[in-house]
């Protein structure tokens, strides 16, 4: 406090001149911004620190690699470059404003704004890629399961069952709708005739009867409306169902095949194998077929698995022949043989040489089922995937919000005459923007390269 300030109480006349001495040798706005930035340092350090601690605290190999979650390093590097460029343009804009070169300052500020927009667009594109693969921060949108356990297999079966029932319903609709349409049309003609008759009768009837007829007319009118609505619904739906008929049948066949030969096989193995490792392997195999995790593609073991199955099939086929008298045992053995045949047809292993050339494998080993058939959206197994998604979306989301705020500051500054009198605004928003850049400097290697 200044000398005069302490004397203020003694005099109290209000004519003492107060001398303001700034605590820091910088403008108040800049002081406030730096105070804000120092809280922001702690805020983001907390978030980034939590990510680091979670990531390195995860048991070895359970944190998703960038490719497991569809992160592309070049895209991240591009965004880093964009932000660095924007930092340069904003600092140059400030220099231009200080030198009273308003046109250049405005141009550079606009360029910064555009670069910020590019950054956000790339971010939006990346978010979209995550969402398309079912990577969301939380259920029910998220398809991520941490572990290929019995809950995971159950979720896969549930999803397939839902798909099958939806497709079945569409197919049933497609089959019944033409008949329903004819029936409704006849019903409509009948009702319309009845309405006409009732109106004719009404004109001759007495007051009591007229009231009765009015009630009937109203009821008929309502059912006519109902019929028209349903007919319109059928008219719009039927062409769609017709157009998608082939696709629907293909999908239905794929879903049923998967349900019987892949999911049920995993369930049977998980339930009946005597060895715990075998039980877990069956479920992990299912997860690998749906969503292979980079760097651990099970190509080699799939080949072994297929050849094992072929041996087993040979044994079973022999047993079927020898069990000719026991019908029940024979049926059970035949079912097992059929399941193995189905599996080998769908997943013939890596070296397709042993599979009949005429049969096209359903499962492309390199990509996984979800990538091959986008509409499936089966649950996926990514170890620590949910934790990863939570931290990723939180970190990048908060950063993106800061970018948006920066862009708003630029929009506020753009219409102004950016000469040296406005330099303080550019300086403060520039400081903020550099901080946004700083955060990304740490986020990029942590999220994309670690």
């Amino acid at each position: 406090m200044s000398e005069s300030d302490t004397h203020h109480g003694d005099h109290g006349h209000g004519h003492i001149k107060l001398v303001y001495q700034p605590a820091l040798p910088i403008p108040n706005g800049k002081t406030c911004l730096w105070l804000f930035l120092s809280t922001e340092i702690m805020f983001f350090a907390g978030l980034i620190g939590t990510y680091i601690v979670l990531r390195f605290g995860a048991p070895s190999g359970t944190w998703p690699l960038p490719h497991d979650v569809h992160l592309s390093e070049p895209i991240g590097a591009f965004n880093t470059f964009v932000l660095i460029c924007s930092s340069v343009t904003i600092v140059l804009a400030l220099e231009m404003a200080k030198a009273n070169r308003t046109g250049a300052a405005k141009g550079l500020l606009f360029l910064t704004f555009i670069l910020g927009g590019v950054f956000l667009s790339v971010k939006a594109y990346e978010y979209n890629a995550k969402f398309a693969h079912g990577i969301y921060p939380s259920m029910p949108h998220s398809l991520i399961y941490d572990k290929a356990d019995i809950h995971y297999v159950a979720a896969v079966r549930q999803r397939l069952a839902t798909l099958i029932s939806d497709l079945d319903k569409d197919r049933a609709d497609y089959e019944t709708m033409p008949g329903e349409r004819d029936q409704l049309s006849a019903e409509r003609t009948d009702t319309e005739t009845r309405q006409k008759d009732l109106r004719a009768e009404r004109s001759k009837a007495d007051a009591g009867r007229r009231k009765e007829i009015d009630g009937d007319l109203e009821t008929n009118e309502k059912s006519l409306q109902r019929i028209s609505r349903r007919l319109a619904e059928i008219e719009t739906r039927l062409p769609v169902l017709k157009a998608s008929e082939q696709e629907r049948n293909t999908r239905l066949a794929i879903c049923k095949d998967l349900q019987r030969y892949v999911v049920q096989a995993a369930e049977i193995n998980a339930a009946t194998d005597s060895d715990r490792a075998d039980r877990e392997a069956a479920m992990e195999l299912l997860a690998d077929l749906i969503y292979p995790i980079g760097g651990m593609r099970p190509l080699a073991y799939l080949d072994d698995y297929a050849s094992k199955l072929r041996v087993r099939r040979g044994d079973l086929a022999g047993s079927v022949d020898s069990a000719a008298n026991d019908e029940l045992a024979k049926a059970a053995l035949t079912d097992q043989v059929d399941r193995i045949d189905g599996w080998l047809r769908l997943v013939p292993g890596v070296s397709l040489t042993s599979a009949p050339a005429s049969e096209k494998p359903l499962v492309k080993l390199e990509q996984g089922l979800n990538e091959e058939y986008h509409w499936l959206r089966l649950p996926i197994r990514i170890p620590s995937g949910n934790m990863w998604a939570s931290t990723y979306f939180l970190l990048t989301g908060f950063h993106a919000i800061h970018v948006v705020v920066g862009l708003i500051l630029f929009i506020v500054a753009l219409p102004r005459n950016l000469d040296s009198s406005q330099a303080y605004f550019l300086e403060n928003s520039g400081l903020y923007w550099h901080f946004v850049d700083l955060v990304w400097i740490f986020l990029f290697p942590l999220l994309y390269l670690f």
Binding site: A45, G46, A281, P383
Partner: protein, 157 residues
């Protein structure tokens, strides 16, 4: 780093606002800093390429990338945010905040970073990765398992 050079600039404090000082900045200086930033980004990207020699020990790559990030951060703070030319007040605002944030992260290590050390048997059942199985438990008759487990535990990137 800023600390070494700032002693020469202490005189810019006082009533004279530091940003009024016309000597700093300049297109050439910003251009050099920009070039350094791009180079450093390339350097951290390089650890991900095939040419990086420390593939077997990922910790080296991580430490390198963090060092690169800190260098980039210092460049941005010193030159773009002009802290190199500011008066001593910069330490009041930046050092306590940085120390606080480091403490904040260290405080998490015990509970979060080392969380799996005290997992109960039941907790492992629901953890991301199946508990590491004893060698020999999955023998040669289960070809799918060993491959898988080896890949996961031995992975680096």
């Amino acid at each position: 780093m800023a600390e070494h050079q700032s002693s020469q600039h202490l005189g810019h404090g006082g009533s004279d606002s530091a940003h009024g000082h016309a000597g700093h900045g300049g297109l050439a200086k910003y251009g050099i800093v920009f070039g350094c930033l791009c180079l450093l980004t390339g350097a951290s990207f390089f650890t991900y390429s095939e040419l990086w020699p420390f593939k077997s020990t990922p910790a080296v790559g991580w430490a390198f990338m963090m060092a690169v990030s800190c260098t980039k951060a210092m460049l941005v703070i010193c030159f773009f945010m002009h802290l190199l030319w500011e008066a001593n007040w910069k330490y009041v605002l930046t050092i306590p905040a940085s120390v606080m944030s480091i403490f904040l992260c260290l405080a998490l290590v015990g509970d979060i970073g080392m969380r799996t050390r005290y997992y109960a048997e039941e907790r492992w059942l629901h953890s991301s990765e199946p508990r590491r199985r004893e060698p020999g438990h999955h023998g040669a008759n289960h070809p799918q398992e060993p491959e898988h487990a080896k890949d996961r535990s031995g992975q680096s990137k």
